[in-house]
């Protein structure tokens, strides 16, 4: 009986490990796909604390973008929730003369993509 329990525990652990690996691969693939998209200048992934986890731009630019966009998206989020508390911000787009900054929000994570829309 203990053997059975041990084996099931081992099996569960292995399963979670495999799922974890698969998920990791998926994440990598997603991010790589976005970074290689047409017109994308840079991608930054920011965690809940505002620390950039993954980036394709240089350090100073990354830090600047992360900090500014965190603040802006927090402000946008509170705006949306003030109007309707059941609502939540999912996506923020800033179109400027030179390019477009897109911020996707999920679970306190921020995915920032800077794209140059081709005309």
């Amino acid at each position: 009986m203990s053997l059975q329990r041990n084996s099931t525990i081992l099996l569960c652990r292995m399963l979670t490990f495999f799922i974890f690996l698969v998920n990791q691969a998926q994440v990598e693939e997603t991010l790589k796909r976005i970074e290689a998209s047409k017109g994308v200048i840079g991608t930054i992934l920011v965690n809940a604390e505002g620390i950039p986890i993954r980036t394709t731009l240089d350090n100073s630019t990354t830090v600047q973008y992360a900090e500014l966009l965190c603040q802006l998206s927090m402000l946008a989020r509170t705006t949306v929730r003030d109007i309707d508390p059941q609502n939540d911000l999912t996506f923020l787009r800033i179109r400027s003369k030179k390019h477009e900054i897109m911020v996707a929000l999920e679970n306190n994570y921020l995915l920032i993509v800077i794209q140059n829309p081709c005309e």
Binding site: N23, T30, I34, S37, K38, T90, A104, E106
Partner: protein
């Protein structure tokens, strides 16, 4: 006067019930105004008296002090890292990042985030929502708005004692900077505490000049080197040429030596086209045009004396007040003089006598501005006295086009670099006139009052939209011209070419006619002189005269007689012919009857 109403009631009726009834109003008394009394009074004029139960308020205007703004950037420093991790340590940060990547919520959120972001990214690539759909189409000719210009900025001389802006030059790369030369041109009016500085202004910042240039004597003119935007050359009031490099600061890099420079203020200095890009030439009212190499300002490389008799005599030289040089024609240049003549010169001539090619005489006063049309280099614009004139190089006697005499003196002019038919002129009453000769030739298309004082110098930026004008009080006003006057219209070049040709032809015809008339006059005067000579010989002998008179008389009589004889003969011959004809007709008639 008392108004009395009498009411009577019989005693026996006292105590009876009151019976009230209505009756119409009765006029008891009508007091009319007495005109005699009116003379004691004076009619009071109307007065508006507003009555309102409101609080007393007063209106007061306040002008805020000009505040100086400064823009500077802030550099973000990293933050947000947990306390135990040193953000500068690469290893720790990498380790932290790797750990964060293994977080579960990370793994679940990223694919979702990714898909949303990708969707939007692809959307952007598919359709450009901010696209201008009618961009490529030609603009339809709407009713043209009246031309206008707007003042963008005013750069004021920061010193207490205001000096005139005598020279302006735009930065060659995009025109974000403007160099202005300040000096006082009034004879001996420059006070001792007048500052000697000239400034380079940044177009966006009118509060403070970007760079101060400190020459030894006030600058009268300035020019940026079109090849090297960091270098400037300026001509100063005492005749010296000064060379600056803006990277090296406010002090001039080099000064020309006083002995070899001009003896009068240098009124114009222009950079030349050369391989080394270091040649410039300057003109001054002492009658000389000097060529300089800025690497060695101790001595001019060449000298030309503007002597119209081509002898190089400095005493008879004309004072030069403006220079003209066009990069597309590097061997020719033109000088405008104080005497109203424009001298056209050839740089490559071997002897000094050949250097001065020809002169154009047009103005009554100094030629303050001289410029070739950038699109039609054969035609140039001059400004002096109260008119602006357009000349063609071929016609030397007079200008092909001339504006009418203006109300005040014209001080500067230049062509628009974008539109060949537009030029700008400045007047001493502070007006800027924009002329479009294809639209109207008798009046300026747009007349603007820039300031109350006289305007002295004008420069158009290379894009044709911004115009800088400098005034006597040291203010440089930056104006933006409306787009109609600064964009090339269709057919403009061909229309203008046709106009110039037509005017040139007209002048040529007029010139030819003048020449003809002159020739006729001359030949007539020669003839009359010959006759006089002839007559003088005959008069010496009166007998011969009488004999000649008799001979003439008899000849005439004979000729008349002969003519009469001939006429009679002809008449007889005609009669014979008529008779013959009649006879012939009768014969024919007879013959016809016979047959």
């Amino acid at each position: 006067m008392e108004i009395v109403h009498v009411y009577t009631k019989d005693r026996e009726e006292f105590g009876r019930q009151c019976l009230l009834s209505d009756r119409p109003a009765e006029l008891l008394l009508d007091v009319l105004p007495d005109q005699n009394l009116a003379s004691n009074f004076i009619q009071r004029s109307h007065r508006d008296q507003a009555v309102q139960a409101g609080r007393q308020v007063s209106e007061h205007q306040v002008n805020t002090e000009r505040f100086e703004s400064d823009s500077c950037g802030i550099n973000h420093v990293e933050g947000g890292w947990p306390k135990d991790i040193n953000p500068l340590d690469m290893e720790q940060t990498i380790r932290f990042r790797k750990k964060a990547e293994k977080d579960e919520s990370y793994l679940t959120s990223i694919p979702q985030l990714g898909s949303v972001a990708e969707y939007c990214g692809r959307q952007n690539n598919a359709v450009d929502i901010y696209q201008e759909p009618f961009d490529g189409w030609e603009e339809v000719e709407e009713s043209p708005e009246p031309p206008s210009a707007k003042t963008i900025n005013i750069f004021r001389d920061p010193n207490e004692v205001k000096r005139t802006v005598t020279g302006l030059s735009w930065h060659p790369d995009g025109g974000r900077k403007l160099a202005a030369a300040y000096s006082c041109l009034d004879f001996q009016k420059a006070s001792r505490d007048m500052s000697l500085d000239s400034y380079i202004w940044d177009v966006e910042n009118p509060n403070r000049p970007e760079l101060t240039l400190k020459p030894a004597s006030p600058l009268v003119c300035l020019d940026y080197n079109p090849k090297d935007p960091h270098t400037l050359v300026g001509g100063s009031y005492n005749g010296q040429i000064v060379y600056w490099d803006t990277r090296r600061g406010s002090q001039p890099v080099e000064l020309s030596s006083v002995e070899h420079s001009h003896r009068d203020p240098v009124y114009k200095i222009i950079w030349l086209q050369s391989k080394t890009g270091t040649d410039a030439f300057s003109a001054s009212t002492d009658g000389q045009v000097l060529w300089w190499d800025v690497r060695r300002l101790s001595e001019p490389t060449e000298r030309l004396v503007l002597d119209p008799t081509r002898e190089g005599n400095l005493d008879r030289a004309l004072g030069a007040i403006s220079l003209e040089f066009e990069a597309t024609m590097p061997t020719k240049f033109m000088v405008g003089t104080e005497q109203g003549l424009v001298v056209s010169c050839n740089r490559k001539a071997k002897t000094p006598t050949e250097k001065i090619v020809c002169t154009y005489d047009g103005h009554h006063g100094p030629v303050y501005a001289l410029q070739r049309n950038p699109f039609f280099p054969k035609n140039f614009l001059t400004v002096g006295d109260w008119t602006a004139r357009i000349w063609s190089e071929d016609i030397k006697e007079s200008s092909i086009m001339c504006t009418k005499y203006q109300m005040s003196y014209l001080t500067d002019a230049c062509w628009s670099p974008v539109r060949p038919s537009v030029f700008f002129t400045l007047k001493m009453d502070g007006m800027l006139d924009v002329w479009d000769i294809l639209f109207k030739q008798s009046d300026p298309t747009l007349s603007l009052k820039v300031c109350d004082r006289a305007l002295y110098s004008l420069r158009v930026q290379d894009n044709g939209r911004l115009v800088a004008c400098g005034s006597q009080q040291g203010e440089t006003t930056l104006l933006e011209i409306c787009s109609e006057l600064s964009t090339l219209q269709k057919n403009e070049k061909s229309l203008l070419a046709a106009m110039f040709e037509r005017e040139t032809k007209r002048e040529k015809i007029l010139e030819a006619r003048q020449r003809e008339i002159r020739l006729k006059e001359r030949s007539r005067s020669e003839q009359s002189r010959e006759e006089e000579i002839g007559r003088e010989d005959g008069e010496d002998d009166p007998d011969q005269l009488i004999a000649r008179a008799e001979r003439d008389f008899f000849n005439q009589v004979e000729a008349e007689l002969k003519r009469r004889e001939r006429r009679e003969e002809e008449a007889l011959r005609e009669k014979d012919v008529c008779e013959e004809k009649e006879v012939k007709d009768e014969e024919e008639a007879g013959r016809n009857e016979a047959s």
